[in-house]
Chain length 509, copies 2
């Protein structure tokens, strides 16, 4: 309410600066967007439905389907048109946990905090077995365990995690960090994806476990204090072999068991894990909806974020937050009566966590093939794509992804949002999420700079990625800023400037 | 090893300062203590046996018995005499968890992180039931739930916890904080114990739950990120009525369930909790051992810490750490061939967590009644009692507990430990643990100042109080400093100065 009043006063006094002030109708519409976004937000209600109500949203799982159906229905209710679940091609099997229970029963009882690894089978009913520690660095080392692991609970001798509790879990960008970001040179950026060649021993080990018929595998999860991070799980292809049952185990429980066994104290465990694979529909789907344009209705502004999550929690910050913000931006724009020039499209991706499959295939289906750079006509019609997927923190600015011409435009758009903390434009690249699919085909694709909060330390892919981590003020701000960016992109006389088209050879992943 | 060399050099150069340097045999013996404590420590092995191997050590539980037996045996092995489990009077029933399982099954599956509350019964086998949220602030409000809770899983509508992740979990004392502490005026200090009058609604609620035959109570635990703090549990008296089954539930799981039910989304849960009460021996026991004195053998120096813990983990920082340090101090003193003047006694208390019962009753049995201040002869024979129970952090100094005359003595004893970070003497009181039992009967009783690390934020009474939290360097330092204090106290010509005797009316608790 305070912000609203301030803003109304500024508007009345004509002090709103920059590009924003150049056009009276811009200022009026943006004031209404801000009023709706900051004072009549539904973003937390949306986030609640995507997280608590829908549950975990692993690719092709029933939870993702529930969230997609909710989103389609919500968009329709708000008056967004052409809403649908749009298939993008074959992904693979869905999967969900239907029971998790594991405990030490000797030398004393202790229930274990762990998460069944994605796309692993359950145990053969309730099991009870000794724990065997595998000391092996190579396939050769495995020979001595041959014939000894049938039905056992096995764990690889693994070093404890490093401590890090002298550093706060959560942080926001400082002014100095933002200044540095604004002055930075272009960089590759992005989260690195795991290299395949380092995984060969792990692959051999998993094959050995399966052949030997182990009862259950315990692997040490990243995370401390009861926080358990999931690390992947790749057996979703309809042709994939079923791996051994596996629990990603809290580091404290893993190390306790390991210390005991290594000290010669026998550890017995009981476990009962049930998981379910779904192969009735192997297609992946994105959720799509539009606010139709007017004089430029064949041109597009696209916004999106991935709706799928890992399964250990409800993927609140990764990425119900981004999805809720993008849905809320659509709701705001419709609610304020905005009639865009260009058509505004929201797409909520799926299977992002397994390699940006939803967005990459969407781009392939609609805009062209980044491998060959053979383009479809619609590629030329997309002015820009905006993505949100760096946690639940508010927007502090935007990465230009090396698009120099676009910097001054973004700077002028951010001008009226300085009081909300969003002002920084950096030429740095950022990676790891769905704007890359657009960038790869020559469509201007952007991810916003967001405050990190406890995304890296606590929530990103962990069992703690729940609704509790969402901060209403941050999400309201983000939806308002996104709606403003969409507004500007839609109304601008020109399409957004593009970088040089990538060469076919320049394609990554 | 670096420290050892440095110390040897200092010793050879005759640069050791203060009281320490006044007596050549002091310096030699203290050098051997330091060498043994810092370079040949067994403190981590001791801590491992008290935590990982023994398990949770709730008062009168089998886990505590295992740890006590191990300690008695270890002391014997090291050559400590008069070792025993010494009964101190009636405590009540033992208790342990034998199975914990709980999960949401609708609107989707999710296993819940929680801990059965101490001294509560299990469920009636595996149960499956709807969750009912109780909205009540008073006994009157409960009437509308009468007859509706049979077999249900119930939770009181409870506010979410405050966030605090922008602050680091762990810290050490800064120089400035220690300077402030050294300059501080005397204070009451101590952890406050829960006031009984605030608990009346809770008591009525628990009675109502039992009468209505609820299937299971969920209460919100303090703690975030998968960390669950236990809050007590008081039904250990042999005459106590059995309360309802109760789970102290991680705040994230508790709030998720609450948000869903409050939004009208039915939540179903399944649970299977087994606990076991032990009433074959209602006596409480302390572990005792001695290094016998020579010319002053009828006088005593006592050191101790409580060995009992809460049950959610293995009580590593509360207080296996203190117990291991005190055992290690005895081992060091014996190992270096020290022949004390006064007898040195170690006592590991029990039932501290329920109100310092082990130490208070020990004092009552040996030294006198603090209610009447009728003293026993041995009260005059105890020179000092030293306690360690503020987590696993190293010793930074000592609280004089308002004993002004003792400040300069402690300062001179700490002089040679400045390089190990232990130098601060404060007249501040500290409370909450077993030195209070000695202080109450007029025996000089002290608790050391320790670095807090993540004791307050993560481990104190939580499911994360495990061996992982112990830092070898800290515990080695603490054992060395304690052994030195014991050495000085034992060898000093005079008994330690005493404060004025407390008046019978001045007794607290």
């Amino acid at each position: 309410m305070k912000q609203k009043l301030l803003y109304t006063l500024l508007l009345a006094a004509g002090t709103i600066s920059g590009a924003f002030a150049q056009n009276g109708s811009d200022a009026q519409m943006l004031a209404r967007i801000r009023e709706e976004g900051m004072s009549h937000s539904k973003v937390m209600q949306t986030a609640f439905n995507l997280t608590d109500v829908s549950g975990p949203r692993l690719a092709n799982s029933p939870g993702l389907k529930r969230a997609q159906d909710w989103a389609v229905n919500a968009l329709k209710t708000w008056g967004i048109v052409n809403t649908k679940r749009e298939p993008w091609g074959k992904f693979g099997k869905g999967w969900e946990v239907q029971k998790y229970y594991a405990a030490i029963t000797a030398p004393y009882y202790h229930a274990v905090i762990a998460i069944p690894k994605a796309w692993t089978p359950g145990t053969s009913g309730p099991i009870s077995a000794d724990v065997v520690v595998i000391k092996a660095d190579s396939v050769v080392d495995l020979a001595r365990y041959k014939g000894k692991l049938k039905g056992k609970i096995v764990m690889l001798d693994t070093k404890p995690l490093e401590e890090r509790s002298f550093k706060a879990d959560a942080s926001r960008y400082t002014d100095a960090e933002l200044t540095e970001l604004a002055a930075a040179a272009p960089s590759a950026g992005g989260r690195p994806r795991t290299a395949g060649n380092l995984l060969s021993f792990r692959t051999a080990l998993n094959k050995f476990y399966t052949e030997e018929g182990v009862g259950l595998v315990l692997s040490q999860s990243r995370g401390t204090d009861g926080t358990v991070f999931t690390s992947g799980g790749t057996a979703y292809a309809d042709t994939a072999k079923t791996p051994a049952p596996e629990l990603e185990t809290s580091s404290e429980d893993f190390q306790r068991i390991l210390r005991l066994v290594n000290a010669g104290v026998p550890v017995k465990m009981e476990a009962d894990v049930k998981t379910q694979f779904f192969s009735n529909d192997l297609q992946g789907y994105n959720v799509v909806g539009e606010l139709e344009g007017s004089d430029r209705k064949n041109e597009l502004v696209i916004i999106g974020g991935h709706l799928d999550s890992w399964h250990a929690a409800t993927g609140a910050t990764d990425n119900a937050a981004g999805s809720a913000v993008m849905l809320e931006a659509m709701r705001i724009l419709k609610r304020v009566g905005f009639k865009p020039r260009r058509t505004i499209r929201v797409v909520l991706w799926s299977s992002e966590e397994q390699g940006l499959h939803g967005s990459r295939n969407y781009v392939l289906n609609h805009f062209g093939d980044p491998k060959t750079m053979v383009l479809k006509p619609e590629q030329a019609k997309v002015s820009a794509y905006y993505n949100l997927d760096n946690g639940a923190g508010k927007i502090r600015g935007i990465y230009t992804q090396g698009n120099d011409a676009i910097g001054p435009i973004f700077k002028s758009w951010l001008e009226p949002f300085k009081d909300l903390g969003a002002a920084t434009v950096t030429v740095r690249n950022t990676g790891g999420t769905d704007h890359l699919a657009f960038d790869a085909i020559g469509i201007p694709g952007f991810q916003f700079i967001q405050d990190g909060l406890d995304y890296g330390s606590r929530t990103h892919h962990s069992n703690q990625d729940t609704y509790d981590r969402l901060n209403e003020d941050d999400l309201k701000q983000a939806a308002t800023v996104v709606a403003a960016f969409v507004y500007y992109t839609s109304q601008r006389d020109e399409m957004m400037p593009r970088k040089e088209l990538p060469k076919p050879a320049a394609v990554k992943n």
